[in-house]
Symmetry: C2
Subunit: 241 residues, 2 copies
């Protein structure tokens, strides 16, 4: 694992880091003072594809916010089986629950392609929270949002078949949900997609075959949805609320 | 649905409510002032079996902490299929993410048997947070813990078979994890257990049959684990970290 330091030069925030922090949606509305304090314990980092930000079980891991690119969060069973919990897109974040509980982190995190992240030191963040109620409020809301997305994922896993989960996932990717059809690219490879959906790769292929009758065409990473309403009916969307 | 008011008589906290709040683990270490302020927006309530505390999609729902008994949290798909997200034991809690995001609540909540709950008004709680950093800190940690339990449930659903999930669930119920065997009662009926594990009732019966070879005997709600180490090996425990 790489060691992830807090900002090297204490007290001198990196200008690019302050700018990146201001662009993070979950921090919208924070006072300038808070951004300056955060920048002193944060670092903006450009990572190559496949960079491990932290490993499952690591202690003292940081809070990590994705600025660009994608991150996968995963867990490994004692028998070596790996499952992907989620694939994060900007401005997704990870590591907050380990920072707040001071427990070893549950999920390993690595970049899918090249990615830019903001790394915020855990101990520094914990020290800021009692002094900056607006920051605590922002993090309470951020935690609540990721909790909601996991609740929906649990429902997805309990109620839907793999083909329905795939259909639902493709619908989420569609740029315009109101239109009849859509053409898009899968944002990552099918191995990772299978893990994200909680199935084996052969089941993913079968799921794509099932969806063919519902107007879903694939060729490599290119996907065409020819009949979005039909796909939506099949996938039993039961999203918010 | 029942209407859930904040404490009726503003400014006069109910003594039993203050006492109940002081007993809640997630509030441990809060100042007396904070307990008094919480009690003014909280109500301790004894509920009969099958009482609906709130329904999926309700707005302005409260934060609900379980003092005794059990609560089930569930979601219903448009086709009417119900899935149980979790069955909460004391001092489990629910509704916090809806309070913090001010979004409709994702899960319906009802009592399994008779239960006692503390109901904290959402708007009142949001108003307290900026003024009471120790309360915000306590809720940040509480959210982080429920997030972690959902991460483990997602892994469970993605990596384990139904029989493994059942084995893991029974191991969690065992009073003494270090001993070779255990006898216990299922805390709720098998219909609810199947929903909690994300399977149909017939699959639950098959899962119990599979576990018979691993020393799991059942008779009604009574369960005997004759070989905990063997069951643990089979169930591929990959818990924290």
């Amino acid at each position: 694992m790489e060691n992830i330091p807090a900002s090297g030069d204490a007290g001198v925030p990196d200008g690019r880091c302050v700018e990146a922090l201001r662009g993070v949606a979950l921090f919208a509305g924070l006072e300038n003072r808070v951004f300056d304090r955060l920048a002193k314990i944060a670092e903006r980092r450009d990572c190559l594809a496949g960079t491990t930000l932290f490993r499952q079980g690591d202690a003292n891991t940081p809070f990590c916010i994705l600025v660009s690119g994608q991150l996968s969060t995963y867990r490994t069973a004692p028998d070596g089986t790996v499952t992907v919990i989620d694939v994060l897109h900007p401005a997704g974040h990870t590591g907050l629950s380990a920072v707040l509980t001071q427990l070893p982190v549950l999920m390993g995190v690595e970049t899918v392609g090249s990615a830019t992240v903001i790394i915020i030191d855990g101990a520094g963040l914990r020290a800021l929270l009692p002094e900056e109620p607006s920051l605590a409020g922002a993090l309470l809301r951020a935690e609540a949002m990721v909790f909601r997305s996991l609740v929906l994922q649990v429902c997805d896993l309990k109620l839907r078949t793999t083909a329905q989960r795939l259909g639902h996932y493709l619908l989420e990717l569609a740029p315009d949900k109101a239109s009849k059809s859509a053409t898009m690219r899968l944002p990552f490879d099918k191995r990772l997609l299978a893990a994200r959906l909680g199935c084996r790769q052969e089941n993913l292929s079968r799921a794509f075959a099932t969806l063919r009758d519902l107007g879903v065409e694939t060729s490599g990473s290119r996907v065409v949805l020819n009949d979005i309403p039909k796909l939506r009916d099949y996938s039993v969307a039961f999203d918010t609320p």
